[in-house]
Subunit: 448 residues, 2 copies
Amino acid sequence: MKEVFGYIEEDEKRFIEELKQLVAQPSISSYDQGVKECALLLKEMMERSGIEARIIETPGQPIVYGETGPQGAPLTMLIYGHYDVQPPEPLDLWETPPFEPTVRNNRLYGRGTADNKGQLYAHVKATEAYLKTKGAVPIRLKFIFEGEEEILSPNLEGFARANKELLSSDVVYIADGPGHESLKPTLFFGCRGIVYMELRAKGAKMDYHSGNKGGVLPNPAWDLVHALATMKDGEDHVLIEGFYDRVRASSEIEKRALSEIPYDEKAVLSDLKIGSIAGSKDYGYYEKLLMRPTLTIDGFQSGFTGRGMKTIIPSEAMVKLESRLVPDQNPDEVVEGVKRHLLKKGFGHIEVKVLTKAAPSRTPMDHPFAQKVIRSIEEVHGISPILYPSSGGTLPSYVFTEIMGLPTFWVPYGQNDIQNHAPNENIRLDFYLNGIKTTAALIRFAAQ
Amino acid sequence: MKEVFGYIEEDEKRFIEELKQLVAQPSISSYDQGVKECALLLKEMMERSGIEARIIETPGQPIVYGETGPQGAPLTMLIYGHYDVQPPEPLDLWETPPFEPTVRNNRLYGRGTADNKGQLYAHVKATEAYLKTKGAVPIRLKFIFEGEEEILSPNLEGFARANKELLSSDVVYIADGPGHESLKPTLFFGCRGIVYMELRAKGAKMDYHSGNKGGVLPNPAWDLVHALATMKDGEDHVLIEGFYDRVRASSEIEKRALSEIPYDEKAVLSDLKIGSIAGSKDYGYYEKLLMRPTLTIDGFQSGFTGRGMKTIIPSEAMVKLESRLVPDQNPDEVVEGVKRHLLKKGFGHIEVKVLTKAAPSRTPMDHPFAQKVIRSIEEVHGISPILYPSSGGTLPSYVFTEIMGLPTFWVPYGQNDIQNHAPNENIRLDFYLNGIKTTAALIRFAAQ
């Protein structure tokens, strides 16, 4: 790897300048701002790096697709990333403008530096380094960079279903997200899924004065409170029939990995300023966070909530209710379960609207390719990664594991405090460089 | 009454002009805007009407106090009203400016025209009419006009306790509020009390991403939902121990009155756009609204409640919880009951803050003075009033009935759609005139 790593170190400054160029092009999918321009720019930058690239249209934002490496290679690796970014607001909290990338304190600041342009571009630069030093990569590489991850990838599943042959591969590799607080490298074997719902109870046609109607007017806030209380008990146990039926028990190897994730309960409690960890005592912290489903109230709104008093009976109550899912739960089944539960408990009149859903995703930890990813990380960092059987959050990886049936490995190239989705997003330059090296190493070890 | 009524009819235009002058002086207690100026103006207007008036300071806004009539009169009647008004906002919904009173369609528009300046001033003009035509009033009249009703009379109870002799009377009379939809006159014998609380549950020090913490972080929204669900069942029955213990059963005369209040369930359901009336089937509409206590969620706020999604575990949840009280419930006991209940059910960590409280108030319907009020109304309207054993809303009448031990009678002089607390507040001129006549008639009949 010496030669490839040497090239990377030598060209580091240029790699940073190119990333700046990519970040300077806004690509805010929420606002449909600059996304298509960014796709074009990325395609050109991939081409300049030696990758055959093209734009493929979808019903939403374009996918930038790339290929390189021999057709008859022993292995095909599909690399997924996204070139769209979160909106930059609130602007006044940025120390330098979000789309004027700036280096400070060994970090590159700007919207998308870490999420996900910097991590995505590390793959591109690793490929370039390999091509320029060795003439060719030893595996077949495919790149799928989408422009709608920040709006929850509404077209990725459809694209995968419609382009099976184009995307056909042996493994999927992703670099995304922040790393561990210890700054140790990490490797994820999956992620939880999600269903995000809005439940709405309705009362009278408008708010009424509680003096004029209190005692005779139905109150949708009480209605929703009572409905919710039937859905979960005080010990965080979901009471919806069948909710846990399809939850896969952690395997022995997963259990061991969970027990090896660094965990300091005292530090967690003091950091979060809480008295105790929530949920059942039957599961440990990381088992609850990664391997168990949740039912979370993300928001509740009804009636008057300003300062002081307004004496009203609200006309409506709304809750944002989210469920993180684990294999083999199915988002549609969970929604049906919620609806059936409400009906059974006498709350069939409460409206259930699904805002988004994504299936959970899990790759077996004993998949042989895992050792190649681990070896690549060790090659760059000199230490073994922390192994996560799953993340607590959600990526669209189910498209790869569930729809395409591919083992999927996910390594964050950003440090822990990348400030993704927040002002002053940044990536540490050494992490960016290590990311490039990690992909380069993986390209080599994948062929062995 | 002919001579007195004749004077009132003859001077109607002037009475309207004077009311305009009083309304034109803003007196917004919430903003402490113009209240003291209005007190001074009212005092002068009372003096010009022949009432001995003076300003009495309180820790808050001044009370305008007035007297007239012989010391040794057979009866002393204390008239209560308030000269402060609600804030006028939202200003852009007013057809004419709130403090430029304007006559349109036989109504006087302006902030305070009905609530309560027009109704308060009716007493002043009735007294003037009596004094100018008869030389003196046949009873002793005392006036207590406060400037803090719209901010919930924080100093009225203290004032009453500190000025027992000054206020000593046989009965209390109040004109306030909107009348019945049928436009028939009404007479109220009491009102419900209130306790308005804010309950707050706290979680971690800030909102956290549900992907990073979902399943391990305590969720204060769930906490509050579970706490609330233990406080009331799905049939509107409050489950707080002892909550109903001191609820006085309706007397026979009150039950009869309740049954005689015009009620058309179909019209109510269709007007409110609801499928059924809330609450226990054991009580009728007006019994639930006037004679039974409530526990109402006025507002609930937690986490993200905007459009779309934000995947967070909220750091806090807050509910505005209001209880309307009936005799002989005590606001402090109800608060203690709530706190004890939370503690017993394992929610002792939920913060309870009392924003306001007022005891309920009730005067026996068979009190002999009621017949004098009824006779005055009949004299003016030619029909008998609808009798309400109580109102559903809250006035500070407990100060008179509970603290001072005086029977209190309350007659709205405004029509049903006075738009109190809303833009385009107004009083129908014929209702204003009838109000003046009603007080004048009561001054006469009270002496008999």
